[in-house]
């Protein structure tokens, strides 16, 4: 990674803002029609708080996590906020060692699971994030590059999103729908996948 962590956060903001209406539309179908608005508000606030000069990985991730927590609200705020905070905790300065990245990914995943008390199969962020993490680690462990790992992770996340169409929601707003949530993809799993996509794109730039 030669890009600044700031450039990654900006790429995330851009992809979320671009897909704001799409995410909201997904949420309207099974939830309360605010996921796109929430995420866009949050990432806009985070980017506003940061500047190009913020180079310290740990610090930027922490700021981003705090920023998301204090500007998103709803279910996604604490979850995405925790994701960044937990990753920050295990980040080692500006080391981009693939193994550290794996640890950060794991810490983030565990943080989200702990905060939301959800496991795979409940139609949440986890359904994209957990397979993405597993794919990422597998590539790294078998000696693949970070780019390869990101590519596989994104693929797995996208499959996870597809999977959310087939299951009943038992967490979050959509859980109240029961069977009627089947057939609709999960907004949070989708936004997570978009974030991953923006990371990969920025990485390859």
């Amino acid at each position: 990674m030669e890009k600044t962590v700031y450039s990654y956060i900006k790429a995330m903001r851009d992809i979320i803002v671009e897909n704001k209406d799409f995410l909201t539309q997904l949420d309207a179908e099974i939830g309360d029609a605010d996921h796109g608005t929430n995420m866009a508000r949050g990432f806009n606030a985070v980017v506003e708080k940061l500047s190009e000069e913020d180079l310290d990985l740990k610090n930027v991730l922490k700021k981003a996590g705090m920023g998301l927590i204090s500007s998103v609200g709803g279910a996604s705020g604490p979850l995405y906020g925790t994701m960044f905070l937990k990753a920050a905790n295990v980040a080692v300065d500006n080391t981009m060692d693939p193994n550290v990245l794996c640890q950060m990914f794991k810490a983030a995943l565990d943080g989200v699971k702990e905060r939301g008390k959800a496991t795979k199969g409940e139609k949440t962020i986890i359904d994209a994030m957990e397979p993405a993490y597993e794919a990422f680690v597998e590539v790294i462990d078998s000696g693949g590059s970070v780019q390869q790992a990101l590519e596989k992770a994104l693929e797995a996340a996208k499959e996870g999103v597809e999977y959310t169409k087939t299951i009943i929601a038992t967490k979050g707003r959509a859980s109240y729908l029961g069977e009627r949530s089947i057939g609709h993809q999960d907004p949070g799993a989708t936004s997570f996948t978009l974030l991953l996509e923006s990371i990969l794109k920025n990485y390859m730039k």
């Binding site: 309207a28 029609a33 608005t37 609200g73 979050g172 707003r173």
Partner: protein, 331 residues
């Protein structure tokens, strides 16, 4: 979208401004925060904090005042407030007797309020919480998030608020709040969707002849759609579901709330109440008090919910206790 707003992004802020300007005798706003507190706080009592996404007006800020809440925290439309806001509310109203958080059962609300609670506890403030889950439209199961909190929340505010005002301890106030939660059941329906200011189009679409049964207060879909029926039949359907979940016998006493979703004419709520009242009275159940109006709304949604609260002597006394807030004055 036809709304009387200036800018969707500033809607919550302007709403809170307009609200505190209207009711200086009751409330003020904490600077730079979406937190409404009493303008003449009472000290030496347990403090009650509630809140949630905006779009449910008069909930929750309308219930800040004597005999009800000490603070209300407003999130963005249909979005739970963030932990820092709730934390500031807790700090602002605690006066050494502890703080009770009244949370509606939504993943987001619970996470954000709990994070705030942790922050406050770290500062040595005694914080307890209750979670309202009165909506019987939703199946209750240990595998899911459980039931949603809707209009029954107002009864929790009212009764726990009275208990706190009368000098109850934090544990006592929490206990009575939990007693209300155990005994309050609600169910709603919608004739039309709501439209979020930031979205600009309806969250869902119903056919000209369709209604959504079991609707949530965020426009999140209900249990099923059906052809529109006469008011009496709709009332019966909602009430039956409530009776399935709230054991009531002849001789029992209840409070009734007929809650408009925001765009429902009072005429229609009254018509619904005529049937509601008949059905309950015919079961030999005594109605101690009926509340009809817009108590927990869903922006511009047309529709309504019915709430029944089973009373015992304690709940009854507290329900009838004086309250003086922008949205509920009772004496």
């Amino acid at each position: 979208m036809k709304k009387l707003i200036n800018n969707p992004e500033n809607a919550v802020n302007e709403m809170l401004e307009g609200f505190v300007k209207a009711y200086p005798q009751y409330v003020k706003r904490l600077e730079d925060l979406n937190v409404i507190v009493r303008s003449n706080p009472k000290t030496g009592k347990v403090a009650l904090v509630s809140g949630g996404g905006s779009g449910h007006e008069p909930a929750h800020a309308g219930y800040v005042g004597e005999g009800m809440l000490d603070a209300a925290v407003a999130g963005e439309v249909f979005t739970s407030p963030t932990p820092d806001q709730v934390y500031e509310a807790i700090k602002a109203v605690d006066n050494g007797k502890g703080v009770l958080l009244i949370i509606k059962n939504y993943t987001g609300d619970i996470m954000n309020f709990e994070m705030a609670s942790d922050m406050a506890k770290d500062e040595g403030i005694e914080v307890e919480q209750v979670v309202v889950n009165d909506d019987v439209a939703v199946e209750d199961s240990t595998y899911t998030t459980g039931r949603r909190g809707i209009a029954g929340t107002i009864f929790v505010h009212k009764i726990a608020g009275a208990k706190a005002e009368m000098g109850g301890s934090l544990q006592e106030v929490k206990n009575v709040a939990e007693k209300v939660i155990k005994n309050v059941k609600s169910m709603g329906m919608a004739l039309t969707s709501c439209t979020l200011p930031a979205v600009g189009k309806p969250s869902f679409t119903l056919g000209d002849n369709e209604m959504e049964i079991g609707i949530g207060i965020h426009g999140e879909p209900g249990t099923h759609r059906d052809e529109i029926k006469p008011a009496d039949e709709i009332v019966d359907e909602l009430l039956n579901k409530i009776f399935d979940n709230l054991k009531l016998d002849s001789g029992d006493e209840v409070a009734v709330m007929v809650n408009g979703m925001g765009a429902t004419p009072l005429m229609e709520l009254n018509i619904a109440n005529s049937r509601i009242n008949d059905v309950i009275v015919n079961k030999g159940i005594k109605i101690v008090r009926t509340y009809i109006g817009n108590y927990m709304t869903s922006l511009d949604m047309a529709g309504f919910s019915i709430t029944l609260l089973k009373l015992d002597d304690e709940l009854k006394e507290l329900l009838l206790y004086k309250s003086n807030t922008p949205a509920l004055v009772q004496f």
